[in-house]
Symmetry: C2
Subunit: 246 residues, 2 copies
């Protein structure tokens, strides 16, 4: 079995992954898998046994269904890696549903096609969270080393800890950028430098409403932060209205 790579999910991020492999690991053969038209089944899933590495890049809400489909077709020693924006749910799902003879790594690249496209696909200084769920340590260290060679900032972190920290960082910029888009905000002739930055990241995240919803639904810390935000805004408005004109 040669080191060829399967990417499951030909959405924005799956396609960005393929571009990254072409740029940084041109010797690897990358094959895309996606569900067949009008179907929830992955086309040609039975050929997955030929792949040494399988990367799952499907929407979080489709994750469990996809893991169930691919599990029976994976060869012993295959390495499965997910790239979901939440980590506890996919980590639990993979450990529960994948056969014992495959290795498993959880990961979350903290960047997307929008940012990469602007920097000519440079990964320099970008953050990537990774965790060895069930994998030979030497193989894991080898992968981390190759990622670091791309100048990625690789952070080893437990899935639960990732979700807690992501809910206090990425989740907020996505939520605030998307609610500003919902409100129809747009650049004006009188922008301040701060508002210009808000408009910049709104443009980056506004197409990711599905990811935001999945974060909310599949990571409890995100639900808690959404509640905290709403409660803090209510408190602030009461304070402003209460001291009005005094």
């Amino acid at each position: 079995m040669s080191t060829n790579v399967a990417i499951i999910g030909a959405g924005n991020f799956g396609q960005a992954l393929r571009t990254l492999f072409q740029k940084y690991e041109p010797s690897l053969a990358v094959t895309m898998f996606d569900q067949g038209q009008g179907s929830e089944h992955i086309a040609q899933v039975e050929t997955l046994g030929n792949f040494r590495v399988v990367i799952i890049a499907v929407p979080i809400k489709a994750f469990e269904n996809v893991v169930q489909q691919i599990g029976p077709h994976l060869s012993p020693g295959t390495l499965v890696i997910d790239v979901c924006s939440v980590k506890k749910h996919p980590a639990d799902t993979m450990l529960r549903l994948l056969p014992g003879h495959v290795d498993i790594i959880a990961s979350h690249p903290m960047f997307g096609p929008q940012t990469l496209g602007r920097s000519d696909w440079s990964l320099k200084g970008m953050n990537l969270v990774i965790y060895p769920l069930r994998v030979d340590l030497a193989q894991f260290e080898n992968i981390v080393g190759r990622l670091r060679a791309l100048e990625l900032h690789v952070v080893e972190m437990l899935p639960e800890e990732h979700d807690r920290l992501m809910a206090r960082s990425q989740f907020y910029s996505m939520l605030l950028g998307i609610v500003c888009d919902d409100l129809g905000l747009e650049p004006t002739e009188i922008d301040t430098p701060s508002f210009t930055q808000l408009m910049n990241f709104m443009a980056d995240v506004k197409h990711d409403r599905g990811i935001l919803r999945d974060m909310y639904q599949f990571a409890e810390p995100c639900r808690n932060e959404f509640r905290l935000l709403r409660s803090e805004l209510e408190k602030m408005e009461k304070e402003f209205a209460g001291s009005q004109m005094t």
Copy 2:
């Protein structure tokens, strides 16, 4: 009467204005006025009659009181300019309370000491809103020309229109940056590029809670937008919770 300038209010923005005058108009003599210690009265207000230009850079909530204090001391032909972050309230106040023999311009520089400090006090491309409330047109055009020579983007706009547009731009970045500070958000090891931008402008606006409160209290469009934001977030959470796990 020589062209000397009085700045009323020695807060962050008043001091930034003095620095700008020193850098860009070093031939003008600038004098700072502020309230006396433990007093709401402006010290030496009776000397204001000696000044050709008076810039009011006090907090919005103090504005009416300050205009009442300075009005009786101003000489005929003096030009009064405000730099408040809202425009209808100070414009109405100045037209109502200042003597008919002074000229009046309303302005809102859409930048602050934080941004200027980072760019070596360059004004290039910064936005400045201005409106000739009661002033000789030739004098107004002369001032606009001098501002444009500093590479400022000068926008002539009615006070009401400014407040409507500001509530849909600057007000949001201030509100969202300050609520993130209230929530205790801070840069993490796993930031996305979007969250980094959010943290950047949070750092710029988090000390301006008083200005945000004044915007809310003295500009109706800001109160409306605060309500719209809260309602949009409620709608979004209902949508996310309603479609949960489906």
